[in-house]
Symmetry: C2
Subunit: 139 residues, 2 copies
C-alpha cells in the first residue's frame, strides 16, 4: 500500500495554510517581521531535492519561481533566501524568505531565530492575499 | 559594452576552485569539518534565482542535481542543505552543504558559524577529487 502524504506536525504548527498548488502545499510562517513562505511537495516520504522525479523537480522549480516573483513584487526585499535545509524537519520543504537589512535576523540566516511576534488573523490574510494576487497577475 | 563576469572577492577568499562547469564555477568552502560546495553561475550582475533566464535556470538545476547526487554518495549526509542566501555576498551563488548530526553547526544553519579549521592542500584535493569522480560516474 502506498504511504499517504501527511504534512509534518511542526510545519503545521508553525505556519498558516495558504493554498494547494499542483505539486506543493503553500504555507506561510507565523512570523510578523519576516515574510516567509514554504512549499511542501505532497509526496510521501520525500526528504531531499535530489530524490524528486524529473517531472516533480520541474514542477517544484516552476512553483518556486512563481512564488519568488510574487514575493519580489510584494515585499521588494534586498534579497530572497530560497533554501532546503531539513536539519530539524526531515519532510522535504523549500523556504522562501524576503530579507531586508534590519530584519531581526539580518544579515544572518533566519533559521533558529524565533519570531518575536506571530501574525494576527487579519495580518496573515492580508499578507497571503497580497502574494496570491501577485501570483495570479505574474504567474 | 557587456559587463564581464568576475567572481566575488569574498567567495574567492573563502573557497578552493574546483571546476568550471557549463554554466557555473564550482567552488569548495575552506571548511575541514563540513563538506560544502558552491555553484556560481558565470553571469555578470546576477543576484537572484528568479532573474535567471529559463535556459540558465534549467542548467543550474541540472548542475545542482549532479553535484547533490555526488555529495550524497561521497558523504552520506543526514541531509543536504541547498540554499541561495545572498545576505552578505550579493553575487548569485548556490550552497550545497552535507550536514551530519554533531557537525559544528548542527542542527542550526552553517552560515555565520566560522570554520574552526580550513583544509590542507592535500585534504582539499582529496575531497574535490572524490566529488568530481562521483560526478563523472553518476552525472
Amino acid at each position: 500500500m502506498k504511504e499517504a502524504f501527511e504534512l509534518d506536525a511542526r510545519l503545521h504548527a508553525d505556519t498558516w495554510f495558504v493554498a494547494d498548488w499542483p505539486l506543493s502545499t503553500l504555507l506561510m510562517m507565523d512570523h510578523a517581521a519576516i515574510p516567509w513562505f514554504i512549499l511542501v511537495p505532497r509526496r510521501a516520504g520525500l526528504r531531499e531535492l535530489h530524490d524528486l522525479g524529473s517531472d516533480d523537480a520541474a514542477m517544484l522549480a516552476r512553483e518556486s519561481l512563481v512564488l519568488a516573483r510574487a514575493m519580489q513584487a510584494a515585499f521588494e526585499p534586498q534579497t530572497l533566501n530560497v533554501a532546503k535545509l531539513g536539519n530539524i524537519v526531515g519532510q522535504l520543504h523549500l523556504h522562501h524568505v524576503a530579507r531586508q537589512p534590519g530584519d531581526p535576523a539580518w544579515p544572518g540566516p533566519v533559521w533558529g531565530v524565533p519570531a518575536e511576534r506571530g501574525l494576527e488573523k487579519n495580518e496573515a490574510e492580508d499578507r497571503m492575499q497580497r502574494v496570491l494576487g501577485l501570483v495570479e497577475r505574474l504567474g
